[in-house]
């Protein structure tokens, strides 16, 4: 590898935002034909680094050299002209245009007087898609007609149009299922072998080990180390990412004893034939007081969709929901909250935090909503609630008057949990409460979940990290392809492997309805 010259050299990159150094003297080199992973916890500076390289952010100090030429990017266009292409987590294409147009936007084939020749443009787009094995895509079809995974591949095809020398993949796999990840990796390898340098960012360690040649580790905006993937054991990598040793980590959250329902005990919540067309097929399940029920399943398995039905975020169109012995129709979140059902969303930014309100207001708002607009919470009571949860959940900084958008992801999550606890729920649904937050906060939140169940709250716990589900849950509902496929009573014999096997070996379409 020493004989190759790097395509990109970033040296001493520093980026400051008002009051924060997001990046402090970070180096990164990318070589042709290599997949380079950028590793670090949330807030380590990965996305800032990418945005520096793609010209979204301007650097305060340092230098970027592409193919030996120093570059000062003023915008994304500059970076693209230098041969740097990016595929983002949320696919950044235009769904109102056709597939072919998206591939070719800004690079349409033009005739002598500058008019676009659509026939040739689509033909060229089809050519690029074919190179990636997507030759059968109709370039005239609207982009919205294909799956997110396919759209991601279209975005990669686009990078070939601009003849990119560097391809940045920012969390490309977070909304893909296992098969789709395999497809994506096949294409990444193909692109890599054609001599493109690839910068890969992912939270999934397995995938990083599967695809990357080298890794650069960041922590708190600082450069930690560049390592060769195959020579670096995982625990060492994790240690570098979080600044703690591997032993410290393994102590988080031990498996507790299963809470069995007492004979004759009525469940706190019970659903029968509960479902919604096109989102989750009818489900039967019970939750008892003080129980943690885990939803296990891949993204798109219907776990979030089912949770949203419990909360009324979406409306169920079949079946019945019995809560505390009463039949309940949850038409909207407001109804759910008044009946002491709370749901913490997986989409913290769009459905969770109210960014420009303070921590205090974010904690109180749901409780206030259940009381109605014109019955304000007395100040003393409000102060008590806010203080209590900031302390109990260890929200940092412990300043109730800070705007929530200025908190780290983990602390935002704690504030959101505080919001739901303030409503005194009897059923609490936590959808990916530990996603995208650092390991310390993760452990704290896991402990909170166990404590809540101990206080007699029924908890539904949803996570894509199976080990977390296995460690915390009493019962595990396994979902696949929008069906509940199995209910597992969690005991010592159950492991991650059990669930993986269940998902892999159950055929949804046999034996089930439809």
């Amino acid at each position: 590898m020493t004989d190759k010259k790097p395509i990109v050299v970033m040296k001493g990159i520093t980026i400051e935002f008002p009051g924060v150094k997001a990046l402090d003297n970070v180096d990164l080199s990318l070589y042709p034909g290599e997949v380079h992973a950028l590793m670090g916890e949330n807030g380590a500076g990965k996305s800032t680094m990418i945005k520096a390289l793609t010209g979204v952010y301007k650097i305060n100090a340092g230098s970027i050299t592409v193919e030996g030429k120093p570059q000062l990017f003023k915008g994304t266009l500059d970076a693209q002209n230098a041969g740097i292409a990016t595929v983002y987590q949320e696919v950044n294409l235009c769904t109102n245009l056709s597939i072919g147009e998206n591939v070719m936007l800004g690079h349409e084939v033009r005739d002598k007087i500058g008019m676009i020749n659509w026939k040739k443009t689509h033909a060229k787009a089809a050519g690029f898609l074919a190179e990636m094995g997507l030759g059968s895509l109709d370039t005239h079809a609207p982009l919205s007609s294909i799956s997110i995974a396919m759209q991601q591949l279209v975005a990669i095809a686009r990078s070939m149009v601009i003849d990119a020398k560097v391809l940045i993949l920012d969390e490309p796999t977070s909304s893909l299922d296992a098969n789709e990840v395999e497809e994506l990796f096949a294409i990444i390898r193909k692109v890599r072998d054609s001599g493109v340098a690839i910068l890969f960012v992912s939270h999934f360690l397995d995938q990083v080990y599967q695809i990357s040649d080298k890794m650069t580790v960041l922590r708190n905006g600082k450069f930690i180390k560049e390592v060769v993937t195959k020579d670096t054991p995982r625990d060492e990598l994790i240690g570098m990412m979080i600044g703690k040793s591997a032993e410290e980590l393994s102590q988080i959250g031990t498996k507790k004893t299963r809470r069995e329902p007492e004979p004759g005990e009525k469940p706190i919540a019970s659903v029968h034939d509960f479902g919604k067309k096109g989102s989750i097929n009818p489900v039967d399940m019970d939750i008892y007081k003080g129980q943690i029920v885990g939803f296990a399943g891949l993204l798109g398995s219907g776990r979030t969709e089912l949770a949203r039905l419990f909360f009324g975020a979406d409306k169920a169109d079949s079946g019945s929901f019995t809560f505390n012995g009463h039949k309940l129709t949850v038409a909207d979140p407001s109804t759910a909250l008044r009946n002491k059902i709370a749901y913490s969303t997986e989409n913290r930014r769009d459905e969770g935090i109210i960014g420009d309100l303070t921590v205090r207001e974010n904690i109180l708002i749901a409780l206030q909503a259940t009381r109605g607009m014109f019955r304000p919470i007395p100040k003393k009571e409000a102060d008590e609630v806010v203080d209590k949860y900031i302390k109990e959940l260890n929200v940092r900084p412990a300043d109730p008057n800070r705007l929530i958008k200025n908190l780290s992801g983990g602390n935002q999550q704690k504030v959101l949990i505080a919001r739901w606890l303030a409503t005194n729920p009897e059923l609490l649904i936590l959808d990916e409460p530990t996603r995208g937050i650092d390991i310390g906060a993760k452990a704290e939140i896991q402990q909170v979940v166990i404590d809540l169940a101990g206080q007699g709250i029924g908890v539904i716990f949803i996570s894509s990290e199976l080990d977390e589900v296995v460690r915390l849950s009493d019962d595990i509902e396994v979902l696949k392809d929008r069906h509940k496929i199995k209910e597992i009573e969690n005991d010592d014999t159950v492991s991650q492997e059990t669930i993986v096997q269940t998902i892999a070996n159950t055929n949804v379409n046999s034996g089930k309805e439809e």
């Binding site: 230098s63 979140p333 769009d350 420009d356 309100l357 708002i365 206030q368 607009m373 019955r375």
Partner: protein, 358 residues
């Protein structure tokens, strides 16, 4: 030593806060305008007791009288803008409400019935806006733009295209008093307006109304997930805006007891937006300040007074206001705010590249 330094820092930061507060700037702007006016008209600040009307008289008093209508629409507009919306129909709503009142008085209705009907019609227009925005999910500026257009038409339909004049009708004293009367020497309409603003302010800040409005403006989906019903909030703010615009319409028409179906409330949506912007509420929604908007409304009345005092042609008023809006918005633009940081960054990079070259 460290303690002292901290204290000094705190002082500078509170000073900075004062400087960056829109309220401070509003007061400064207000004083500057008064100074300008006093220079051009030495009697500008003089107040006389007018025994005919039983109140104070003078340029400042007429300014305050005019500000009442701006206070009304600015208050409604603040709430609407806080939800990330806009109400372009306030001017037309004023004309409709004024037309209803005048036409009913001419038709021989009791003055209180006429006032009530005018307010109800304003509320109704607000409710229609609210329903279209909240239930059908139409864009606020398109919806209220349509209402602005249709409202003018409606005002004309009500008066059959005439400028209804009720000044010679008997029994209109209460309405006349509302616009031109005095309470302990201070214009009644101003006091009524201040009371209404105070009521809305108390409702917003002493109940959860303000927080919920802001919450919906910041993140409607997250608000829905907290059990708030964003549709109800949206509906409510447009309804309030319509009602307050009707009050403004009564103020505007009752002072001359005549509605001008073209000119009553014309361009006033712009004044209301400007008042809100001066008051420091972002046009993108979220946190709002009713006090700021109230100051903004008074400043607008003051600017208009200044234009008259300086003897500038009344036709220039819209152009003048456009320039003020542009200046205020430009000053609030992030680009201008970050100017110094950007210059610092460029200098640092330049120094670095020089160092590298050396």
């Amino acid at each position: 030593m460290a303690e002292e330094k901290k204290n000094a820092e705190e002082k500078t930061s509170s000073f900075k806060k004062l400087l960056s507060s829109n309220l401070t700037w509003s007061v400064v702007a207000f004083i500057v305008l008064i100074i300008i006016c006093t220079i051009f008209d030495h009697g500008f600040l003089s107040l006389k007791w007018n025994t005919n009307t039983g109140g104070l008289a003078g340029p400042l008093i007429t300014m305050i009288q005019e500000s009442a209508r701006y206070l009304m629409i600015a208050t409604g507009m603040t709430l609407v803008i806080s939800t990330a919306g806009i109400d372009l129909s306030v001017g037309s709503t004023m004309a409709v409400a004024g037309a209803v009142a005048m036409q009913m008085l001419i038709g021989g209705s009791n003055v209180w019935v006429a006032i009530l009907c005018a307010l109800l019609v304003g509320l109704l227009i607000g409710c229609v806006n609210g329903a279209l925005v909240s239930i059908l999910g139409l864009q606020p500026f398109i919806t209220t733009l349509i209402m602005m257009l249709a409202g003018r038409g409606l005002a004309k339909v009500i008066t059959s295209g005439q400028n209804a004049d009720a000044s010679s009708i008997a029994g209109i004293a209460p309405l006349r008093w509302m616009a031109n009367g005095f309470i302990v020497g201070i214009p009644a309409n101003f006091i009524i307006a201040i009371i209404i603003v105070a009521i809305v302010g108390l409702l917003a800040r002493k109940t959860a109304m303000g927080m919920m409005i802001e919450s919906v403006g910041i993140n409607p989906e997250a608000s829905r997930m907290t059990g708030i019903k964003p549709r109800r909030i949206l509906f409510m703010v447009y309804a309030i805006s319509g009602l307050l615009a009707a009050v403004a319409g009564l103020f505007a028409t009752a002072s001359v007891m005549r509605v001008d179906v073209v000119k009553t409330g014309q361009d006033l949506e712009m004044y209301a937006i400007l008042a809100v912007v001066i008051g420091g509420t972002s046009l993108l929604g979220g946190k709002f300040s009713l006090l700021g908007s109230a100051f903004g409304a008074i400043i607008i009345a003051m600017i208009r007074k200044t234009i008259i005092t300086l003897g500038v042609d009344a036709a220039a008023t819209p152009a003048f206001f456009a320039v003020v809006v542009i200046i205020v918005c430009v000053m609030q633009a992030p680009k201008v705010h970050n100017l110094s940081a950007e210059m610092k960054r460029k200098r640092a990079l330049k120094a670095q590249s020089k160092a590298v070259a050396a």
